[in-house]
Symmetry: C2
Subunit: 148 residues, 2 copies
């Protein structure tokens, strides 16, 4: 397993590898995803990156990133559009990853939980099941610490 050195990632390269244009905003956007511990909403992106950007461009960039296997949609407490980085194996052609998500009731952030074992269910009461989504609701580590 290769550990990624967050200080020396070539974000332009990552965009190229996913067939995405290397504009200055998109380089900053993908870097922001890499530096964030949790998933991001449009609002969080706009108000936290240095680069001034229109919300329309954010929506369109997120769409393109998702289509090309760089990020994936995650659930959000308030049903907003929210994304997190995909595992490095993802691409536009192979874009499957099944993991649980944690919604923190305190800070409302969404985290990807990779070690929760998702059961395989093909059938239930006559229904044919193709996919299973699990959402864990609770407190993230930061919010527990801030209480103590």
């Amino acid at each position: 397993m290769i550990l990624i050195d967050k200080e020396n990632i070539d974000f332009g390269m990552i965009l190229s590898q996913h067939a995405l244009s290397k504009t200055s905003f998109r380089k900053i956007l993908i870097e922001f995803f890499y530096r964030s511990k949790h998933s991001l909403s449009v609002e969080e992106i706009i108000s936290n990156i240095s680069h001034p950007v229109d919300k329309v461009s954010v929506y369109r960039a997120l769409n393109a990133f998702e289509k090309n296997g760089l990020i994936h949609k995650v659930p959000d407490k308030a049903n907003l559009i929210r994304y997190a980085l995909c595992p490095s194996e993802c691409s536009s052609s192979k874009h499957l990853h099944n993991h649980a998500h944690l919604l923190c009731s305190n800070c409302n952030e969404t985290y990807c939980i990779n070690d929760f074992k998702i059961p395989i269910v093909n059938e239930c009461k006559g229904f044919v099941i193709n996919n299973l989504k699990i959402i864990l609701e609770g407190s993230c580590i930061d919010c527990q610490q801030s209480y103590s």
Copy 2:
């Protein structure tokens, strides 16, 4: 176990038991929930009940019903507000029921699945878990039959 005779339910009584006003629209609305096999969106309610009603009143009635333990929110494929009946034990004070939901990829309806066993998880990777939501994506029974 008491089987409910759907032809002879006193819907006014049900509203009273949940401390809700017995207006003609609300009686029709709760009856509509009892007669529906699946959960209901605002749009489905407005276009299917005989009583002419403003959408604002639907939203407010659904809100009141939920608050008083008569219905609960269920996930919706398009992130619309969608509700289903609660089990009869629910009230405004005790309004807990943990079951899985099926989203049918074909008809976009949401069904409550009561026999799917939801695992109990209190902790995961340092996160404290209070609740677990499971969404099964697949085909409902009606949609499978319509293909054959």
